[in-house]
Amino acid sequence: MSHQEFENYLALLTRLLKVAPSQRQQLAEEFRAHLEDRLDELLAGGMPREKAVHKAIGEFGDAAVLAAELAQIAQRRRRRFLMKMSYAGVAALALAGLLVFALWPDGRQVQGPAAAVAQGGGQEQDEPPPAPPPSQVDPFRVPGASKSPDKASQAHAKIQAALDQEAEFDFVDTPLKDFVDFIEAKYNIPVILCKHTLEDAAISLDTPVNSSLRGISLRSALRITLGQMKMTFVIWDEVLQITTPEDAETRMVTRVYDCRELLALPSPPGSSRPRGIAGGGGFFAVQDEPATKGPATAGGAAPAGGTPPATGGTEPGATPGNVGGGGFGGVAPGGDKPQERELSDAENLIRLITTTVHPDTWDEVGGPGTVAEYKGLVVVSQTWEVHEKVERLLNMLHTAADVKTQRVKVVE
């Protein structure tokens, strides 16, 4: 019964609508029924078909105006949701801040941005002579995007950026595969379903997706929506892949977190802990490092890992994930003779991470995850889920300590 002109009109109208495909389809269906009802009535009154079709469309109203009005309603809905969320958000942030202050190992003293800059500068000046210029020594000095990292990193950064966007989920019984098409089109990122894995887990590609979420990040919206259906996502091979949590756990990802600003925070006055002499804290140790030993630091920095933590932590090449030892023990002054020592800043930070985020997944307790530190860059090999929480924790620390950059820089 449907007439091609109706379809053209509806196609135009729905193209103008900035809503989820599922919602778009529902609007089209609702309007199609209306147009057909009107057409039936006009035909019954004896009007020729072509004329009746035009009249029905003419009466329906201007597609652009209608689309604009419907968009306004959607916007109002979003605003209302955001209002609700913002109250909850302020309370949550305040709570998170308090929590981080309470957990912060070096006490509550923080430093302002100026001091952090001074520390950074000092490090550059004290770089040992045989080492190449800072820009080459440290590829992470500048955030990834501006240093033209490799293609995979760029692709991952793009997906991460998309995941930070605000979600607009309004799915009612949308088949899983259509849901994926929507995410792909709307956020302009490659998304695939790990078909075999999902099929093995008895999850059909037609599983209906029901989700109405707005005002939160795409990341959270996906976690919630997929989580309800016993699924999750990973960023893998430059693609956002939807799979089972079990499969996601087998995928280890290595990322580098730039924690130099966090590690440059001063200890509270009166702290008895000696800094930078025990060999663990890469950041401070490097400043006093004898020139000839500079290049050797790389030995301990490799994120590969595998051997159990060394107890002394002073041997060159101590393994990553070595909370007790610190990756760079060997290069620090006094590194070649064992001595009584307290944990360095970096070790404290690593300990904070491994005890706060999924404590049972780190290699020191037999889990698959590793963490090591190199000059304030913390290399973590973990699953996506853990990475997200590590990043969140570090961001919270940045916020709580009021360091210059509000978010930790990440390279993956």
């Binding site: 609702e30 329906f60 209608l66």
Partner: protein, 114 residues
């Protein structure tokens, strides 16, 4: 046949009209439009482009709810009043009747003496 009401005059009362039509039971957009037209002697003739945003807004406000049904041979979205919609209708209808009465009295005095 008297002229259609001016848009400005209708603007503040369209929601109320739609709620009122739905008080008689579940209806889909086309029926709502038709009933408004017929009950008003063609003087309230809402374009679909005006009616549907109203319906969607009322649904967002949870004053009406919708469901899909194909029983009439065509897949249609049916709307009906919620309890909140019913309350809103009673309150708004009473207010409008008051208002209309007030206008009537005002006009009876001022306009006739003009």
């Amino acid at each position: 046949m008297p002229d259609k009401f001016q848009r400005e005059l209708l603007r503040g009362s369209l929601d109320l009209m739609v709620l009122s039509v739905l008080a008689g039971g579940k209806k889909y957009g086309y029926l709502i439009q038709k009933q408004l037209r017929e009950t008003s002697d063609q003087r309230v003739d809402l374009q679909a482009g005006t009616l549907y945003p109203i319906l969607h807004k009322l649904e967002d406000d949870k004053l009406i709810k919708s469901s899909w049904d194909e029983e009439t041979g065509r897949k249609r979205k049916w709307y009906e009043l919620t309890a909140a919609g019913r309350r809103r209708l009673s309150a708004q209808a009473a207010e409008w009747l008051d208002y209309a009465e007030c206008i009537r009295r005002l006009l009876a005095v001022e306009w006739k003496s003009a």
